[in-house]
């Protein structure tokens, strides 16, 4: 078996174990919270014991704790994420499908734009260190880092949707009954907000590592050989400088995928973040499990991809595997 494949399989196995442990922790946590789904649904009305008990029974909350968990786990192993405990008790997959698609598109767009932009900004800042561009970018990045993403979002809404110009939609209430392709204008402001939230971290990391690499002996060697500066940067320096940045990118995308609740609140965007907040408030165990497992799986996969990429890009690790 090729060593890379072996590594992949081992890591995937460990990933599954991680997910199982996550599901146990989530179940324990939902049990540890005060109240249960019936109480969360009824609120003040849970003082009505008849209705409270009837609802508990309907939701299967009167069963012992362990059998609630094993029942859920058994369903999951059969590929069935179960039904929501609240509302019309819809299938979890049906309930979450659109939110997952919305969030996936949002995060993908944000990643697609923010990564190249960050790399270019980082690389140029390193090459033209202490120039006006670099200083300007430093101030820009530090300002963005210090602003929470909802503040960035509010400023964008004021500028482009309500107070100053009315160019873009002020809210992003994506309608799942129509195709997304016709509603892409709704994604512009949330995506820009997220891009602005991600750029500082990635570009500053890349700037630091590029500066380090540019001062290394092999880059000096390349320059002494008389290579063009652009070739030195893009072919010699950047591939090495990008290695530590891959991990930062992975963590940032995973953070985006974790549900950017504040951005969803601000734009009225129906994504997994608000879905998760609601599900926790409702003690809706199957929905909480599904969303947390999804987010955990994204973390596991992105970390795995980052590690594999790191191995493939860095020659020392690549040869070490042979």
């Amino acid at each position: 078996m090729p060593p890379l494949l072996k590594l992949l399989l081992i890591r995937l196995g460990l990933g599954l174990l991680t997910l199982f442990l996550v599901s146990v922790v989530v179940f324990a946590a939902t049990q540890a919270l005060p109240g249960d789904a019936a109480k969360a649904i009824l609120g003040k009305d849970s003082a009505d014991k008849v209705r409270y008990e009837a609802l508990r029974k309907e939701l299967g909350l009167d069963k012992p704790m362990l059998s609630q968990y094993t029942g859920w786990l058994g369903d999951v192993l059969k590929g069935n994420l179960g039904n929501s405990l609240v509302g019309g008790q819809a299938k979890v997959t049906e309930l979450l499908k659109q939110r997952v698609i919305n969030s996936f598109v949002l995060v993908s767009l944000a990643a697609l734009f923010s990564i190249p932009i960050s790399i270019v900004i980082g690389a140029f800042s390193a090459v033209y260190r202490d120039s006006k561009f670099d200083n300007g970018m430093n101030i820009f990045n530090l300002t963005l880092v210090s602003l929470p993403e909802f503040v960035i979002g509010i400023i964008l809404v004021l500028l482009f949707a309500t107070a100053v110009f009315q160019w873009l939609p002020s809210v992003s209430n994506v309608d799942s009954r129509a195709p997304l392709s016709g509603q892409m204008d709704l994604f512009i402001l949330p995506v820009v907000t997220l891009i602005l939230a991600v750029i500082p971290y990635v570009s500053r990391m890349l700037r630091a590592s590029t500066i380090e690499v540019l001062e290394s002996e092999y880059v000096m060697m390349a320059r002494l050989k008389g290579l063009k500066e652009s070739r030195v940067l893009w072919h010699h320096a950047l591939p090495n400088a990008i290695i530590p940045t891959i991990q930062v990118i992975a963590i940032n995308i995973a953070w985006l995928a974790g549900g950017i609740v504040t951005v969803e609140y601000l734009f009225g965007f129906p994504g997994i973040g608000t879905g998760l907040v609601d599900a926790v408030a409702n003690r809706d165990m199957p929905v909480v499990q599904a969303l947390v497992l999804l987010i955990a799986a994204v973390y596991v996969l992105l970390n795995l991809i980052a590690d594999i990429l790191t191995i493939l890009i860095s020659p020392r690790l690549r040869t070490g595997l042979r």
Binding site: G43, S84, S170, R177, Y265
Partner: protein, 552 residues
């Protein structure tokens, strides 16, 4: 019988302003405009002479037909459903249900009881039997007729002992099997005890009439008689939005609906709600915070303010010392500077309360002097009770009301003047409504608009599900009065008993009712026809009255 035939077309209920009259005069000449105003003021209940179809002058305020009314509602939740008989777990699902279902009777936007699906209702002499005649020709969204079978099915479903509906407690005296079909359009309710407020109970939203076999799961099978209906089940997305189409066969003469489509879109954040209006993504915003009124108006939007009978009381549990002492309760009521609390705790979005609930009840004693802050008197009462410089914990939560923690903090500050130390404990909803709810010594609660007797059955009398104060059993005279009123079918006599009971609460009760809530909705300048609702249920124009909205 104080009910009236409620066929008043919606736009007639809307006051005709001087400006509209002048505009009308300019456009059509004085005679025509005065003629239409005269028709409007005549209050003809037939509706046909002044129905929107008969006159089409937009300038005089006649509704236009068509358009898509998009409403930004507050935070929803996946726990919403459209079951007509269950508790509406969010304001949003209540709004949706108002637009889909009707009950036999209803309260109009000023709280006057009238007929809805019923043509008439007649009690027997001792109020144990009510005979309801249904309007003929009314159909459900699926085209099936509203008849006695549907009514019997609906009330058996509400009274199902295994899963009682929300209205079951209010329909006191009705038992499973107590609803009988007399003929196709006549139903008889037989009660096991006199229930003088049975008509009020029939008017609650959760006593809606649904077709035989009704059993909604999500949007599937959610069929009613209301002005709007679901085109398909997937148009109901709990926690996200609900999209309705106009019910062309709506039964009400001249009462809308005017728009073709109605969307109730849920926003987790009030800022996003307002942004949606400012950016033109919606036409109407439900229940904005007081601070946003200026923003909305500044951008050229209209506001609609409703004075409701909802209340956020401070609750003093007489089973916990020192609230067993009436002097302590009286002192606490005198600690409150009510106007200040309204200004600071609720951005002015409240109106003065006088420690009694049910302000729209015909029996509400309006003439009792308004209670005001009186620190000296409070201190002397506390001294008599041996509770000078007392310390007390006040439990509150944002899940009681967004304003509750602020009101609690203001109370703590005001109480200092009398040497009373109030420690505000702001807890989460799980804790507040948890095992300690109804056992807290000094806490708060959130109540909707109800008639006096309906409220005592829910919150005051022994056996009430939400009795926070446990005060009534300490006052036999009070309980006798309420029980007597519950058995008194004569309206005038009953109102006298109610006034007497409320006065006892005013003097010795255990609630501090410093205010009732106002609600404000904001809407684009093009939206017309909305009426403020007294109930505080759903948005301030809700209670099914989106049907009255139309676009200029």
């Amino acid at each position: 019988m104080s009910t009236r035939d409620d066929e008043k077309p919606g736009f007639l209920a809307k006051p005709v302003t001087r400006r509209q009259v002048l505009q009308g005069a300019a456009a059509f000449g004085g005679v025509a405009a005065l003629g239409s105003v005269a028709a409007a003021c005549g209050g003809s209940s037939s509706g046909s002479s002044a129905s929107p179809a008969a006159s089409s002058s937009a300038a005089a305020g006649t509704p236009n037909v068509g358009g898509h009314l998009r409403v930004a509602a507050g935070q929803g939740s996946a726990k919403e459903d459209l079951d007509a008989h269950a508790t509406a777990y969010t304001m949003q699902s209540m709004d949706m249900r108002f637009n889909m279902y009707d009950s036999l009777l209803e309260f109009d936007n000023e709280g006057v009881l009238g007929m809805a699906l019923a043509e008439s209702i007649e009690p027997n002499t001792d109020g144990t039997q009510y005979t309801v005649k249904l309007k003929s020709g009314v159909t459900f969204h699926d085209g099936s007729p509203v008849n006695a079978d549907a009514v019997v099915y609906s009330f058996e479903r509400i009274m199902d002992p295994k899963k009682p509906g929300l209205a079951a407690t209010q329909l006191k005296g009705l038992k499973p099997g107590g609803t009988k079909k007399l003929d196709d359009l006549t139903v008889q309710f037989t009660l096991t005890e006199t229930n003088a407020i049975f008509k009020e109970a029939l008017a609650t939203y959760s006593a809606a009439v649904v077709p035989v076999g009704y059993d909604p799961k999500g949007g599937e099978g959610a069929i009613g008689t209301g002005p709007f209906k679901l085109a398909q089940a997937s148009d109901f997305q709990p926690g996200v939005q609900c999209v309705f189409v106009k019910n062309d066969a709506y039964w009400r003469e001249g009462g809308g609906p005017y728009v073709d489509q109605l969307s109730i879109i849920e926003f987790a954040d009030t800022t996003a709600q307002m942004n949606a209006l400012l950016g033109g993504a919606v036409d109407y915003v439900n229940m904005i915070p007081g601070a946003q009124r200026k923003i909305a108006e500044g951008a050229g939007n209209k506001l609609l303010e409703a004075k409701t009978g909802s209340w956020i009381p401070f609750t003093m549990n007489v089973e916990v010392k020192p609230f067993d002492d009436v002097r302590v309760r009286q002192a606490f009521r005198l600690l409150v500077n009510r106007p200040e609390m309204i200004a600071q705790g609720a951005d002015g979005l409240q109106w003065l309360g006088n420690d009694m609930y049910g302000p729209f009840d015909a029996g509400y004693p309006k003439d009792l002097p308004q209670r005001e802050q009186d620190i000296e008197q409070a201190m002397s009462l506390l001294k008599q009770a041996g509770q000078e410089n007392m310390t007390v914990k006040l439990v509150t939560s944002t899940s009681v009301s967004n304003n509750a923690p602020a009101a609690a903090t203001v109370f703590a500050q005001q109480a200092q003047a009398a040497g009373v130390t109030v420690k505000v404990d702001n807890v989460t909803g799980d804790v507040f409504w948890g095992d300690q709810y109804l056992k807290w010594g000094f806490a708060m609660d959130n109540w909707g608009t109800r008639g006096y007797l309906a409220q005592t059955g829910m919150g005051t009398m022994p056996g009430a599900l939400y009795d926070e104060t446990h005060w009534a059993p300490t006052n036999q005279k009070y309980m006798d009065l309420v029980n007597e009123a519950m058995k008194t079918v004569d309206d005038a006599k009953r109102n006298e008993l109610i006034a007497e009971a409320a006065t006892i609460e005013y003097n010795e009760g255990a609630y501090i009712i410093y205010a009732f809530d106002n609600q404000v909705d904001a809407m684009a300048a093009t939206v017309n026809g909305m009426l403020p609702d007294y109930s505080g249920l759903g948005s301030c124009a809700s209670n099914a009255r989106y049907r009255l909205g139309w676009f200029a």
